[in-house]
Structure formats: C-alpha cells, structure tokens
C-alpha cells in the first residue's frame, strides 16, 4: 500500500508519455504524408503495375483494424521473415502506412476536384504533365485537401494510443501503469483523456490557421 499514492514524479511520467506519443505522431505524419505523395504521383502518372499495387495496399489498410495491422507487423513479420522488430519500429511502420493510405485518398480526390477544363487549357498551352501538376493542380488541390488532412491528423493522433498494446511507453501505457499502481481509474483516465483532448484542440487550431492561410486566394462566393 505504500506506493499507491500519487507522487510528483507521476507528472514527469505523464509528460514523458505525452512526449513519446507526440514524437511518434509527428514522425508518422511526416513519413505518412511523404508516402502518400509518392502514391499519388504513381497514380497521377498511371505507372502500370505500381498503380494497382498502391490501390490494393491502401484498400487493405483502410479496411482492416489498426490493431490487427500492428499485431501483423510486430508479432507476424519477425516470425515469418526472421527480422528483428522493436515496438517503436513496428509502431512507426504501421501508423505511417495507415496515415499514408488515408492521406492518399484525400490527395487523389483533391486532384480530381480541379476543373478538367483548366488542365485541358494548360495542355493546349504546351505545359508538360509535371508543370501542370506543380503549377496548376497542386496550389488548388492543397487548398482543397488541407481541411480533410487536418481532420485525418487529429484522428491519427488518437490512433497512436493503440501502440500502447504492443508495449510502446506512450501516454496510454503510462495511464495503464498509473491505473494499476494507484487503483484510481477515474482520476487517471480523466487526466489522460484531458491531455489527449487538449493536444487535439491545439492541433485543430493550428490546422485552422494553416487552412485560412492556404485558402486566402480562394474566394467563396456562396451558392
């Protein structure tokens, strides 16, 4: 019973967990968005076999639980391919691919949202496909995609809580440890939930600012 009270050190533990969660979230977001851009380029240039591979992979990733994907990478891959896998590596790989799958769909629909006439006009002016993508499509597509992408990121922040199941010391895992030691689930889980909530709100406000910035050239005339 001696160690069942809360101690000041628990705050450091919580901050530690928050740091791990945030670090993993940032890393997977950067890798995931990069991968999604690669996937989008593959489908934009309609590279024969790769396009089908990307479509099949993203469909599979979108239609299965992240938890199962984590188990497949963390428990399955080492047994099948005889590779070493640390919890952090497995978590980074899985969440990055998962982010990439959803971001890819958003980016593709953003490209599809640009008027076909504009592209036809650019082709008439003799622009190459790369020039069309970088000069004409991407500025408009970015303004379209930023809202859904911020929504996706807030969702992915919550998905990172699942990595506690394979033993990464993130915020949820710290919550588990504190819960088992103090046996005060209400206080512990409320605090953990509040930390996630505040982080998500900060993320949303930053995203809103970026969106406003990207959209300042898009004048919405109303319907």
């Amino acid at each position: 019973m001696r160690y069942s009270d809360f101690t000041p050190y628990d705050l450091i533990l919580l901050l530690n967990g928050l740091g791990v969660s945030l670090g993993l979230f940032l890393a997977t977001t950067i890798i995931g968005v990069f991968l999604a851009v690669m996937f989008t380029l593959v489908s934009y240039y309609r590279i024969p076999v790769l396009t089908q591979v990307v479509v099949a992979l993203t469909e599979m990733l979108k239609n299965s639980p992240v938890l199962v994907q984590l188990f497949l990478v963390f428990f399955g891959a080492p047994a099948f391919f005889h590779v070493n896998m640390t919890p952090v590596a497995a978590a980074t790989l899985t969440i990055s691919l998962n982010t990439a799958a959803f971001a890819y769909v958003i980016m593709r629909s953003a490209i599809a949202s640009v008027d076909v006439e504009q592209i036809a006009a650019a082709e008439v002016f003799g622009h190459s496909r790369w020039q069309i993508l970088t000069l004409i499509i991407s500025p408009q597509a970015a303004a379209f995609a930023i809202g859904p992408l911020v929504g996706l990121m807030i969702n992915q922040l919550q998905v990172t809580s699942l990595i506690s199941v394979i033993g990464v010391m993130d915020l949820t895992k710290i919550g588990n440890i504190l819960n088992l030691r103090t046996l005060q689930p209400f206080i512990v889980w409320t605090a953990i939930g509040a930390l996630y909530y505040v982080t998500a709100k900060i993320l949303a406000s930053v995203g809103g600012r970026v969106e406003k910035n990207l959209r300042r050239s898009v004048v919405w005339g109303g319907i």
Binding site: N63, P65, Q69, F75, F80, Q158, G175, N179
Partner: protein, 222 residues
C-alpha cells in the same frame, strides 16, 4: 494454402465463435450508436441553449479522446461506482457512446440541410413540434445521411477490435490466442485482416442497399 488450412482447421470453430461475438457486439453497438446519435443530434439542433451546449460538449469530448482511453475509463471506472457488468457489456456501451458522437455529427448535418419550406408547411398544417420532428425532419435527415453513417459504422466495426484489450475474446482476441498456440502469427493475422475486410465490404454493400431502399422515391424514372 492447403498446409495453412490444415494448421488452422482445428481452431476454425474457436475463430468462428470470436467472429460471432464480434458480430453480436457490433450489431448491439450499431443500434446503440444510431439511437444515441439521433438523440444527441436532436439536442444539438434544439432551441434550448443548455441542451445544445451539453450535446456539443458530449460530441466534442467523445470525438477528441482516443477510444482505448474511453474503454479503460469505463472498464476500470464503472466497478468503482458499484456497477458490475461484464467485459462484453462494457465494450458495447463504450462503442455505442463513442460511435454515437460521430453519428450525431452526421445526422445533425442531415437535419440542417433540410429545406425550411418543408418545416413551415408542416407548421401551417398544424402539426405539433414533436410530430414535425419525428415524422418529417428525422426521416428526411436519416435518408440523406445513410451513406456517411455507413462509413462511421464501418469505422465502428474496425474499432471493435480494440475490445480485445479488455479481455474480451472477440475476433481479434481469439486470433491472438490461436497465434500464440500455433506459433504462426503472420498467417493468423493476415487471415484476420482478410476477415475484417470482408466484414466491412459486407456492411458497405448492406448500406448501399438501405440507401437505395430509402431513396427509392428519389430515383429518376422510378
């Protein structure tokens, strides 16, 4: 493939049990989520400021806190309050609450998209406010929001795998046991991936059918 089947065959009944438990949990949670979602959505569009504020806070909190944290909150917290229920019931309650927050968002935007003229016409016809809401507003809102609700429900099925963390042996939980008895985690989890994908495909086909049925009067040439 044949060798894989021979290895998994003794466990197929066990996996099937898990599959049925997942199915049962999802059906209960879907019903709960749609009911809670409709109730919260009607509060969020009400004239009463307090009701609106409470409903908004509910949806905001349940959408911005990870499901696993909510689940642990219920699983460890409810016994503190003297409510002793099993892991299955806890899981269904948590899934319904968190699903309800997302469903309420969809139904709310369905309600807000209704033409004001329809409501005015109903008022002129002398219908009570309750009748207007249940007989006119809600059916139209449900009809327009079938597809977005469908994607929320698919997400709910995928989220149900998290119930394995509170000792519930649903599909993921039983697959975990099989993986650790056969020492073939890769094959087992790959099979699990395919099972979940087929479950979500089945649900999206069902949603399309419901969408067609509810919107049958909208079809051109119908």
């Amino acid at each position: 493939m044949n060798r894989l089947w021979r290895m998994l065959e003794p466990y197929s009944g066990f996996i099937l049990d898990g599959f049925l438990l997942t199915l049962l949990a999802c059906i209960c949670a879907i019903i709960g989520a749609v009911c809670i979602g409709a109730a919260i959505a009607s509060l969020r569009t009400s004239q009463n400021r307090v009701a609106r504020g409470v409903a908004f806070a509910y949806a905001d909190i349940f959408r911005n806190v990870p499901f696993i944290v909510q689940l642990f909150f219920f699983f460890y917290g409810l016994p503190e309050l003297g409510i002793y229920i099993g892991a299955f019931e806890t899981g269904v309650i948590a899934l319904s609450f968190s699903g309800g927050a997302f469903v309420s968002d969809v139904i709310r935007s369905g309600i807000l998209s209704i033409d004001q003229g329809i409501i005015e016409a109903a008022k002129v016809s002398g219908l009570s406010r309750y009748k207007i809401f249940t007989k006119i507003v809600l059916p139209i809102a449900m009809r327009t929001s079938v597809r977005p609700i469908g994607s929320v429900l698919i997400n709910l099925i995928l989220t149900s795998s998290i119930l394995s963390t509170i000792t519930l042996n649903e599909l993921t939980g039983s697959a975990k046991i099989v993986a650790s008895t056969t020492f073939r985690p890769f094959e087992v989890y790959a099979m699990l991936l395919v099972l979940y994908a087929s479950l979500t495909y089945a649900l999206s086909a069902a949603i399309s059918a419901v969408h067609r049925r509810l919107n049958r009067s909208m079809e051109i040439g119908a």
